[in-house]
């Protein structure tokens, strides 16, 4: 071998493919540097914004070009139109969470730059996960996403709940990582490869699936991915972690982590046999049921949204099941999950963000009672929150409705009508708790004797983020053609 072999791996195509990631890595280093240099917060903020937008622009360039780089660096990373769309989604989710975090912290204000560095690392991990074509790259991406989130969950160290959330997430996440590593070791033992190429054709796949050791490995890997998307029965950590974490971080977890794990799941569905479709669909239904029924009895809006996030993961899992069962319309499952996740990022990001905004103002919004009468006090915020709740519930003219419609039609085309019908019924259950929030805001008056809150003016960044989220939700709901064509 020649000493220049690194060049053969990092050719022009590899640079184009990895450019969005390189930009983030560079921005991260500069941001870290800016915390020790005598520059103001505005420089760090501009740096963060510029890095995220630059990465999105480079993704958009890949999306716009006819010739995609494809598999690069020894077939370990794939950059194509799909991964570019996922990349833009990740940047969007991070941007929303970051904008809401800008005026959120009080005691920890001095560590905002470190907070931003950790937040900026997460989309890098997500992009590695979405583009991963082998298990090692995926694992590094997973850790690059998880480790900053562990620290961010416990960022408000003065609050017990925040520390508890960080510790719980860390311990369970460490177990999940161990499962993944053990599973990939077993897969390597049987296939001699950690690349998804090993499952490329049906003949090799069925040979591998005949090995009990490989099956055990696939089960372990699947368990760890299901843990990340919070599918049943690995969903119990979600409410505690989401409730305890600082709300902007919760927004990032809810949108980013889930999107990245699904991006890999859509790629890696090749390692699951077609016969797994029914069990995946069953898990999807159980996840939806577990999320929706538990959300019905919550009085804390953050916990309720956490359970609703579990239910949404279940719905998306139905699209994965549909693609496993062999949807006759090629690429429809991928399109459905991209659209669904896009709508979810805008909706859940906006909903959690608005909660963060109200929390900062000292409103007791983590409970349903605290939201009572919000419609009279702050009509604009209440209206935006209503829009997000309706979209999460899947009411027509919002992005959430069309996402659900696309996912369920994938399931129906794949001969999973029963599962789809049950899924629709469970979505109706979900309306019960989304509408409770709307009723509390508009139809109930503020409880007597509650402390009056002098509402501070809303920060520009948060206003902008809310407006973008609301516009996206409506745009995806009313004029979805542009999005569907791009996918």
């Amino acid at each position: 071998m020649n000493p220049q072999s690194l060049q053969t791996y990092f050719d022009g195509a590899a640079f184009v493919a990895l450019s969005p990631l390189i930009v983030i890595a560079l921005g991260l280093l500069l941001l870290l540097l800016s915390s020790v240099l005598p520059v103001g917060r505005s420089v760090s903020n501009l740096l963060m914004l510029g890095t995220l937008l630059g990465s999105a622009a480079l993704h958009a360039r890949i999306l716009a070009s006819e010739q995609v780089p494809g598999l690069v660096v020894g077939r370990s990373y794939a950059a194509d139109h799909t991964s570019a769309i996922w990349g833009i989604l990740f940047v969007l989710g991070t941007l929303i969470a970051w904008l809401y975090s800008l005026r959120y912290y009080e005691d920890e204000r001095a560590f905002q730059t470190e907070h931003d560095v950790l937040m900026l690392a997460t989309p890098l991990g997500m992009m590695l996960m979405a583009g991963a074509h082998d298990l090692i790259v995926f694992f590094i991406g997973l850790e690059l996403l998880s480790i900053p989130l562990y620290a961010l969950a416990a960022f408000r160290r003065s609050r017990t709940k925040s520390v508890e959330a960080g510790l719980k997430y860390f311990l369970l996440g460490a177990f999940g990582a161990a499962f993944f590593l053990y599973g990939s070791a077993l897969i390597y033992t049987t296939t001699g490869s950690i690349s998804l190429d090993a499952f490329a054709d049906d003949a090799r796949r069925s040979a591998i699936l005949g090995e009990p050791l490989a099956l055990a490995g696939i089960a372990l890997v699947a368990a760890s991915v299901f843990f990340k998307i919070s599918a049943f029965p690995f969903h119990l950590w979600v409410p505690d972690v989401y409730e305890g974490s600082p709300t902007p971080v919760t927004a990032l977890m809810a949108t980013g982590t889930k999107a990245a794990a699904f991006a890999f799941l859509m790629n890696a569905a090749v390692i699951l046999p077609h016969s797994a479709a029914n069990s995946v669909a069953l898990i999807a239904l159980l996840t939806m049921a577990a999320g929706n029924f538990a959300a019905l009895v919550q009085t804390d809006v953050k916990r309720m949204l956490a359970y609703s996030g579990i239910a949404h993961a279940g719905t998306l899992l139905l699209a994965v099941a549909g693609s496993l069962a062999g949807d006759p319309k090629a690429g429809a499952a991928l399109e459905a999950s991209l659209f669904y996740m896009g709508a979810y990022v805008a909706t859940a990001g906006g909903a959690f963000g608005l909660l963060a905004l109200l929390e900062r103002d000292g409103e007791h919004t983590t409970t349903l009672d605290g939201l009572r009468g919000l419609g009279q006090r702050r009509p604009v915020i209440a209206a935006a929150l209503t829009l997000f709740m309706l979209s999460l519930g899947g009411i027509p003219a919002t992005g959430g409705f069309l996402g659900k419609y696309l996912v369920f039609s994938v399931a129906v085309r794949a001969d999973m009508t029963i599962y789809a019908a049950l899924g629709v019924l469970l979505s109706v259950v979900a309306l019960g708790y989304y509408l409770r929030v709307v009723i509390a805001m508009w139809m109930q008056s503020q409880p007597e004797g509650s402390p009056s809150v002098d509402s501070k003016p809303v920060a520009l960044a948060a206003t902008f983020a809310s407006a973008v989220c609301a516009a996206l939700v409506l745009w995806m709901g009313i004029l979805p053609r542009w999005f569907l064509d791009t996918m």
């Binding site: 071998m1 072999s5 690194l6 053969t8 791996y9 990092f10 990895l18 890595a25 991260l28 280093l29 870290l32 660096v73 020894g74 370990s76 990373y77 001095a110 560590f111 470190e114 907070h115 560095v117 950790l118 690392a121 890098l124 590695l128 090692i136 790259v137 694992f139 590094i140 991406g141 850790e143 690059l144 480790i147 900053p148 562990y150 620290a151 416990a154 960022f155 160290r157 960080g166 077993l186 390597y188 033992t189 049987t190 296939t191 001699g192 490869s193 090995e211 009990p212 050791l213 490989a214 055990a216």
Partner: protein, 178 residues
């Protein structure tokens, strides 16, 4: 001869691992871990992984265990006693027993599966040639695996920042230092 050595090393590794969770004092856990690490290094050597064995001793037995000892010293955990005693107290509850039973069951399934599985040719080949000579290792790290290798550098940096944030005190000059 090498088979006997393998079984001996495996036994020590397993006993050491058990000692880590059974030892009463933190010191006892660390010493058990040390024994386990050395036994693992012997197994790596027997399998032909010289570099891995050296790295195992240098990095784990050398650096990481010293770090553990340092933490024990700092937190004054040594005060709990330095005598090596085993304690089964945490394993008395029914839940812990159930968890142990499940873990042993999973291990057995893995063992049976490993007995039945036929290794693919690529794995058999991989262990035949010295895969972990430093030259080959470098070619793999800077070639086929250069993307994860470089991503790990970002991961380590971010982990450092994360640890710093978790261990943070009030920033000097912006309030009282705790």
């Amino acid at each position: 001869m090498s088979a006997a050595l393998f079984y001996l090393a495996s036994l020590i590794a397993l006993c050491g691992a058990a000692g880590v969770i059974l030892a009463k004092s933190a010191m006892g856990s660390v010493i058990s871990l040390l024994a386990s690490f050395f036994a693992l290094a012997v197994i790596y050597l027997l399998a032909g992984f010289q570099f891995m064995a050296a790295a195992q001793i240098l990095v784990y037995a050398g650096a990481i265990l010293v770090l553990f000892l340092f933490v024990i010293m700092l937190l004054n955990l040594g005060a709990l006693g330095t005598k090596f005693e085993l304690s089964f107290a945490p394993f008395q509850s029914a839940r812990a027993k159930l968890a142990c039973a499940i873990a042993v069951g999973l291990g057995l399934i893995g063992l049976i599966a490993a007995q039945r599985a036929s290794l693919p040719e690529s794995v058999a080949q991989a262990s035949a040639e010295p895969i972990d000579s430093v030259h080959n290792l470098a070619l793999a790290l800077f070639g086929r695996y250069s993307l994860p290798f470089q991503a790990v550098s970002v991961l380590l940096l971010v982990t450092m920042v994360a640890v710093m944030v978790l261990a943070k005190r009030k920033r000097v000059g912006k309030g009282n230092e705790q």
